[in-house]
Subunit: 359 residues, 2 copies
C-alpha cells in the first residue's frame, strides 16, 4: 500500500483526505479478501460506502497536531492513525443513528435503515426492524474493532504507541459518556445552559477537536506544554463547532447538511439553543416549545413556530455570539502556542471551517 | 492490586474465577474513581453486577491454554488477559440481548430492560425503550473499549503482545460475523443442518473455546503444533457446547438456566435441533413448527407441541448423539496433544462440564 507523502512543512486538506482514504480502502479490501465467505465483503463494502461520505475532520486535525509539533518524519504512521480515528468515528455514528433512530445520514439512508430494507419482505415488521438494528449494532462493533487493527498496524514505535494509547482510551470513554449524557437528557427539555455545554464538551469538543490534535502531537513526541496549548485552542473551538451544528440542524439547508430541518427538533435533543430559548421565553412560549420539540409528528409549520420563538427570545443571536466568543478565544490561544508556523496557519483555517460552514 | 498466584502445575477453576474477579473489580472501581462525575460510577456498577453472573468459561480456558504449554511464570498477566476476555464477553452479551430483544439474562433483567426501567415514567413508551436500547448499546461499547484497556495494561512482553493480538483480532471479527449470520438466519427456519453448524462454529466453537485456549497458549509461547492440537480439541467441543445450549434452551430447568423455556422458541433462532426436526417432519409437523417457532406469542402448550414434534422426529436424540460424537472427538484429540499432564486432566474436566451441564 502506498500513500502520498506529506512533508511536515506543508499541510493540505486534500492530501490528508486522499491519503487517509487510501489507507481505509486498502484495509477494507484486505478484510473482504481474507474472509471472502459469510457476508464480510458485503459488510466491508457497506462500511466503505458509509466512510466515503465523511468530512475527515478528525484525520485532518490529527495530521495538523503532528505537524504542529513539527519534528515528525513518519508520514505513513500518522495517516494510519488518522484512518483509525475515522474508522472509530464510523463506529460512533452508526451506533448514534441506532440510538437516535435516525432515517438519514450524510444524505443517505442510515445503516440500520439500509439493512432493514435488505431484509426479506415477508418477515414481520418487528423482525425487519430488529434485523436493521442488530446488523447496524454489529457493523458498528466491527468498525470499532477494525479501528483498533488500524492502530496496531500503524507502524508506531513503542514510545509513540505508549504516548498515543492512553489518549485514545480517554477519547473512547469520553465520547461514550458524552453520548450517555446526551441520551439521558433527550426527551425532557432543559433550560440549564451549563448542562448542555457539559454534553458538548464531552461529545464534541474533546472528541472531535482536542483528542485528534493530541493524538497527532503525541506521535510527534509533544511535551505537556504543547498538549496544554492544544487544549486551550481545541476546547473553545469544539464548543463553537457543536453550537454551529445545532444552528445548522434548525436553520441549515437540507441540500447542504444532508438532513431535514425537522430531524433534530423531532428528536428532542437538548441543545444550548433550546436552553437559551427556554430561558428567554414567557410561559406561553415555553409551553409551546415543550409541546413541539421532541414531538415525532412535528411538521414544517411547527418548525416555523419554533424558529419564531428562537428569534423572539434572541436565542439564535445569542448562540451566534457564543460561537464568535469561542472562536476568538481559540484563535487567541494560538498567539503564544509552541506550534510551527504552518500548523498555526492551518489551525486558523480550521477554526474558520469549523464555525463558518453550511454542512 | 494483588491476585492469588497459581503455579503452572495446578489448575483450579475456583482460583481462576477468584483471580479474574479481583482484576475485574479493581479495574471497574478504578474507572469509577477516575471519572466520578457523569454517571460513570453508575455505569461501571451496572457492568460489575452484570459480570458477576458469568461462568468464567473463557478465562478458565485461557488459563488452561497457558498451562497446557507449561512454561509460563507470569500468572498476573494471564489473569489480566483472561479478564479482558470476560469483559469482551460482557460486551458481546449486552449487545446480543439488544439484538434479540431478550428480557432476561442470567436470571436477571437484561441491561436494556434495567435501563428502560430507570427512565422517567412520564416519558413516551418509545422514548423509554430507546433509552434502554441506547444505554445498553453504549454500555456494551464501554465494555469493549475497557476489554482493550485490560489487554494493554496486562503487562505482556512485546513478544507476548504480538502473539496475542492477531488472535484477539480474529476472535472479534469471527464472533461478530457469527452474530451476523445468526441474525440473518433468524425469522426463517431452515432444515440446512450444515448452515446451522457454520453459525455454531463462528459464534461458539471458535469464540468460546478455541480462541481463549489459543490466547493463553500464545502467552506461554506456544508453537504451531500446540495451536493445531488446541483447535483439534476445541472445535468439536465448542460445537458440542452449543448443541447442549440449544437443548437447554428448550428442555432446561428455568431455575438453573436463568431463562424461560419459551425464550429461544419465541426468538425463532435457527438451531441444529430445529433443522433436524424439520428434516424428519412430515408436512403437517413442518407447518406446525414453522407457525409456532418464532412466534412471540408462543405459550407453554405450544412449547409442549414443539417438544412432541422434536421427540417424534427423534431430533432430540440426534442432537444428543452429535454431542456425544463431538465430545469423543475432542477427547481423542488430547491423546497425542503436546500438553502438560495437568492441562490434559483439566481439559477432560472441561469437556465434561461443557457437554453435561444444566445451566
Amino acid at each position: 500500500m502506498t500513500t502520498p507523502t506529506l512533508s511536515p512543512g506543508r499541510l493540505d486538506a486534500d492530501t490528508v483526505r486522499e491519503s487517509v482514504d487510501v489507507v481505509l480502502e486498502d484495509f477494507l479490501a484486505a478484510k473482504a479478501r481474507t474472509t471472502p465467505q459469510h457476508h464480510l465483503p458485503y459488510l466491508s463494502g457497506l462500511l466503505r460506502d458509509f466512510l466515503s461520505g465523511g468530512k475527515r475532520i478528525r484525520p485532518l486535525l490529527c495530521v495538523t497536531g503532528w505537524q504542529a509539533v513539527g519534528n515528525g518524519e513518519d508520514t505513513e504512521a500518522v495517516f494510519r492513525v488518522a484512518a483509525c480515528l475515522e474508522m472509530f468515528h464510523a463506529f460512533a455514528l452508526i451506533h448514534d443513528d441506532v440510538m437516535d433512530d435516525s432515517d438519514t445520514r450524510r444524505g443517505r439512508p442510515t445503516i440500520h435503515r439500509t439493512l432493514a430494507a435488505l431484509c426479506a419482505a415477508d418477515r414481520r415488521p418487528d423482525q425487519i426492524e430488529r434485523f436493521g438494528v442488530g446488523g447496524a449494532v454489529l457493523l458498528g462493533d466491527l468498525a470499532l474493532t477494525w479501528s483498533d487493527e488500524l492502530l496496531h498496524s500503524a507502524g508506531l514505535t513503542p514510545a509513540q504507541f505508549n504516548a498515543v494509547l492512553p489518549l485514545l482510551s480517554e477519547m473512547r470513554t469520553e465520547v461514550m459518556l458524552g453520548q450517555y449524557l446526551d441520551l439521558q437528557a433527550t426527551g425532557e427539555l432543559t433550560d440549564d445552559i451549563e448542562a448542555t455545554l457539559t454534553v458538548i464538551r464531552y461529545k464534541t469538543a474533546k472528541y472531535t477537536i482536542e483528542r485528534p490534535l493530541h493524538v497527532g502531537a503525541a506521535i510527534a513526541g509533544a511535551g505537556p506544554d504543547a498538549m496544554e496549548a492544544i487544549s486551550a485552542y481545541a476546547l473553545p473551538l469544539g464548543e463553537a463547532f457543536q453550537l454551529r451544528d445545532d444552528l445548522l440542524g434548525v436553520y441549515g439547508d437540507p441540500e447542504s447538511t444532508g438532513k431535514s430541518q425537522l430531524d433534530d427538533l423531532r428528536a428532542g435533543k437538548n441543545t444550548t439553543l433550546i436552553a437559551l430559548a427556554l430561558r428567554g421565553s414567557d410561559s406561553v412560549q415555553a409551553a409551546r416549545l415543550r409541546s413541539l420539540i421532541g414531538n415525532p409528528l412535528l411538521d414544517e409549520r411547527d418548525a416555523a413556530t419554533v424558529q419564531e420563538i428562537f428569534a423572539a427570545t434572541t436565542a439564535r443571536e445569542a448562540v451566534e455570539q457564543m460561537i464568535d466568543d469561542r472562536r476568538t478565544q481559540a484563535l487567541r490561544a494560538l498567539d503564544d502556542a509552541p506550534f510551527t508556523a504552518d500548523a498555526v496557519h492551518a489551525l486558523k483555517q480550521i477554526a474558520r471551517m469549523a464555525t463558518v460552514r453550511n454542512s
